[in-house]
């Protein structure tokens, strides 16, 4: 593939802190290698801003290899940018053309308040996990892996759900800011495995209750979450969660 350097116009959301009103600022970024990642392009811009004694743009990032779930950015109307099954850190500048204007916004949801610029507070997800996204294990010798037979299809489905990196793109894409794809992935990961069975009912009840408490919206099955998920988590997990929740609610004795 031909190597090219391109010039772009970036329209980026700048907001000093959580209480600041914020607004868009436009930057010209020049001579950007198309082999750079989207975040590297931001690094270049930030170096320039620092050199000019200006405040660099704050954005979340960590592993930069698509597995930590830290990067966010709502790029040109789509979480994680134009590529499918991809995170912002793995989005490369070859996705854009010379002279293009790119609009970069933070995840927008009341449950994800903005900390600064493009950084949002996603600790609501941590609290949902604390509510039920775990299994209780007695200490002692590790159980032999073969002691718990698991059907291959179920193991695969649980693994596919466990691929969720908790980035919050599902919430960012959903018109209701619903966290159901995230919650359902975490529940489906554990609820399909034998180790997850003892706490299956309390898990879904507590996780949904916490999700509602955090201020996420209700799921209306539009499928926007599934379309943007960098890990291609299936919307069928939401149906699984709905069924588990209904069964838990109807059979709970309280």
């Amino acid at each position: 593939m031909e190597h090219k350097n391109i010039n772009l116009k970036l329209k980026v959301w700048r907001q000093k802190n959580s209480t600041d009103k914020g607004g868009f600022e436009t930057y010209d970024v020049k001579n950007i290698s198309q082999e750079m990642s989207f975040l590297e392009m931001f690094d270049v811009l930030n170096e320039e801003l620092i050199a000019e004694d200006k405040d660099p743009i704050a954005f979340d990032h960590d592993c930069r290899e698509g597995i930590c779930g830290m990067c966010s950015m709502y790029i040109n109307g789509r979480p994680h940018g134009p590529w499918e099954a991809n995170t912002t850190c793995q989005l490369h500048m070859r996705a854009f053309n010379e002279g293009e204007t790119i609009v970069v916004e933070p995840w927008r949801a009341n449950a994800f308040p903005i900390i600064k610029d493009l950084m949002v507070d996603r600790t609501a997800f941590d609290r949902i996990i604390q509510a039920g996204g775990y299994i209780s294990v007695n200490t002692g010798n590790a159980v032999d892996a073969n002691a718990l037979p698991i059907e291959k299809a179920k193991a695969d489905a649980a693994f596919a759900a466990a691929a969720c990196i908790g980035c919050g793109a599902c919430v960012a894409a959903c018109k209701n800011s619903s966290a159901m794809l995230f919650v359902s992935a975490k529940a489906a990961h554990l609820n399909q495995l034998p180790q997850g069975q003892p706490e299956r009912k309390t898990r879904v009840m507590n996780m949904v209750a916490q999700m509602d408490k955090e201020g996420f919206g209700a799921c209306t099955n539009t499928g926007a979450c599934e379309a943007v998920c960098p890990k291609e988590i299936s919307i069928t997990n939401i149906a699984r969660l709905n069924l588990d929740y209904t069964c838990a609610g109807l059979t709970d004795t309280k």
């Binding site: 609009v103 209701n176 919206g217 539009t222 069928t236 069924l243 209904t246």
Partner: protein
Amino acid sequence: MTFKQMFTSSVGKKLVMGFTGLFLVLFLIVHVGLNACIWANDNGEMFNKGAHFMGANWVPRLLEVGLFAGLILHIIQGLMVELSNRSKRAIKYDVTFGNKGSKWYSRSMGLLGVLILIFLVLHLAHFWIPNRSAQGFIGLEGEIDLYTKMKDTFIGDSWQVIVTILVYVLGCAALGYHLAHGVQSACRTFGLSNPKWIAVVSTLGYAFAIIVPLMFALMPLSFHFGWIN
């Protein structure tokens, strides 16, 4: 988890929407089936017999109370869920995601529902209210000739008739799009996750969403264009 906690949670509210929605789907089947009798071309004889059974028999009349209860619950709960969902993103995006990840009608259930409600008020004012009013609302006797009422409403070249027909056709279109998402969404809310059955339900849902509203829309058109005698 108490029943109250369950049915006031985000998942529980959707369960209520799904159950009342599918209940209303059952009503649509009865309604379209009975109304299809206008095409018997017998000057409304069969249609009026059906209408008489529904209006002058205490069993359907009692079920009608349940129908209104389900309808009102669906409307109120739907509006509440819609307003609550809209409030979850105080600051909107500058560039919207649009149709890139979801169908427009799946995102517009609230709007489509309101359009159907507006149509429904007009529709009840045309047929149900005059009929029940003639019966004294709780009485079983004294129905009006609904076939003649249909003819009066849909035949003629006055602007009222044209506007009425247009509203009916648009109401049916709104219903079609509402059902196109509603049927399969309800089934997913009930927990249908098996891809085989999702394919079956989606196909049936789309078929229902096309066939039933199309049949309803053809009724005023049939009268207006003289396709039935």
